[in-house]
């Protein structure tokens, strides 16, 4: 019997689905063994049974369910719960699902303030925050595992197509996909000299490298003074033996989220810098180090200081 696959996108950009299609030729043999039963981005399928109740979301039963995106409103929460009910194995596809991703950057502000800001900028006509025919927002953006049980975490923004293919193949062969245990640095070929800059450079500066040489001859970008998130980011991006951003000679942005699921990228990175004698106060926007992993309460609005004067 074919294995049935259902896929759903919640608070996401469809980049993960593009990555799924980007598997390319390897996708064709996979499709012979997979039966797509629900994939709103590719095929038309209604949530509710016309004969049944209108409010109940029903998703066909499937052995494997891919969910991309985090959870930000009540509708997405319902869809997620329906997916969990229908799928034997639930896969969080992409960093939004595993750690909140880019949309979770909104967690830095209270949701009401954020909506107010979005709907009443100085350049637009002031309007009320829409509340009719739109599902209400939750208090913040959640990752999938905060709201339901997730069986397989597949981070990445987007996850590399080869990794998605490998996980699907493993699943079809009845194997459990192995979780990532290596950081980006573990898979990075650049040269480490032990001599590092004490001052941090902005991403607008260019790295020093010889474009005729391979990345193995380039000095480690962290040593060059860039805030490369490699040490605290899960590896696996870029299937040609080197991390994707490093191959493009730019520092790692941290898009695969922390190496261990419960780690905190900002804390780990700052701790490393401080141990190296770098003044962390020179980093102007340190919260941006959580740009991909702001769920799980890691990014939260600042409290009013209530210190006795």
């Amino acid at each position: 019997m074919n294995i049935r696959l259902a896929a759903e996108s919640l608070h996401s950009c469809s980049g993960c689905e593009i990555s799924l299609l980007n598997i390319g030729e390897a996708l064709i043999p996979l499709l012979n063994r997979l039966q797509l039963v629900h994939l709103p981005l590719l095929m038309d399928h209604k949530y509710s049974d016309p004969a049944g109740s209108e409010t109940e979301i029903s998703i066909p039963k499937a052995e494997i369910g891919l969910v991309s995106g985090g959870v930000a409103n009540t509708h997405q929460l319902q869809v997620l719960e329906a997916m969990r009910k229908s799928c034997t194995t639930l896969v969080a596809l992409g960093t939004c699902g595993t750690h909140g991703g880019i949309p979770a950057m909104i967690n830095e502000w209270p949701m009401a303030d954020a909506l107010q800001t979005v709907f009443s900028t100085v350049t637009t006509e002031p309007v009320d925050v829409p509340n009719q025919d739109t599902p209400p927002m939750l208090d913040r953006v959640y990752s999938l595992d905060e709201k339901t049980d997730v069986d397989i975490f597949l981070p990445g923004c987007p996850p590399d197509p080869t990794i998605i293919a490998r996980v699907l193949e493993d699943f079809l062969d009845g194997l459990t996909p192995e979780p990532v245990t290596k950081s980006v640095c573990d898979t990075c070929p650049t040269r480490r000299t032990g001599k590092s800059e004490r001052k941090l450079l902005r991403f607008t500066a260019n790295a020093r490298f010889d474009s005729n040489e391979s990345t193995a001859s380039m000095q480690c970008l962290l040593e060059q003074g860039f805030l490369c998130m490699g040490p605290v980011t899960a590896g696996g991006c870029g299937h040609q033996g080197e991390p994707a951003c490093i191959r493009a000679r730019v520092p790692c942005r941290g898009c695969y989220g922390p190496v261990r699921h419960q780690d905190n990228q900002m804390l780990g990175m700052l701790n490393g810098l401080v141990s190296q004698g770098i003044d962390f106060k020179t980093i102007i926007d340190r919260k941006s180090m959580l740009r991909f992993s702001g769920a799980h309460g890691r990014l939260r609005p600042l409290k009013e200081k209530k210190r006795a004067s």
Binding site: D263, G297, R298, L302, K303, K305
Partner: protein, 144 residues
């Protein structure tokens, strides 16, 4: 502040000074608040900020790091690393929703048992004034 609030303070004590001072305080029968829970570590320099944050997320009301006097570290400069990290923790706790007064780093030599008891007393009072940790009653799982 609830009257029945009994705070819990986690103290990471370095094996060579902080823990020895606590040990001496015990031998000398010096009284200090029972809110303290000591975790012995080999050096204050090994206490990762994540450990402090984890303790607070799990409901500890205060966290202390007790290391050696500057220049007396058994591992040459572990306590200086701890100081650099403490500065970071001080700054970052508010990002994660905790008052930075819930954290204290201090340096003691192994003979300073009375200072140890005094410091714990100060921390205990400070935590009582702050009231219970907002996370103490909810199960936050493993989320830092």
């Amino acid at each position: 502040m609830r009257p029945e609030h009994k705070p819990k303070i986690i103290a990471f004590c370095c094996n060579w000074c902080g823990y020895a001072a606590a040990d001496l305080a015990g031998i000398q029968r010096i009284q200090y608040p029972d809110s303290l829970r000591i975790i012995r570590v080999m050096c204050s320099g090994m206490v990762h900020p994540e450990m402090v944050l984890h303790a607070l997320n799990k409901g500890a009301d205060g966290v202390m790091i007790i290391g050696c006097q500057l220049g007396e570290c058994h591992y040459i400069d572990g306590n200086e690393k701890a100081m650099a990290r403490a500065e970071l923790i001080d700054e970052l706790l508010e990002d994660f929703g905790f008052e930075n007064d819930r954290f204290l780093i201090t340096r003691l030599s192994s003979s300073e048992s009375e200072q140890f008891a005094r410091t714990v007393g100060t921390m205990h009072k400070r935590v009582l004034e702050l009231g219970p940790n907002p996370n103490s009653n909810q199960d936050n799982g493993d989320t830092p």
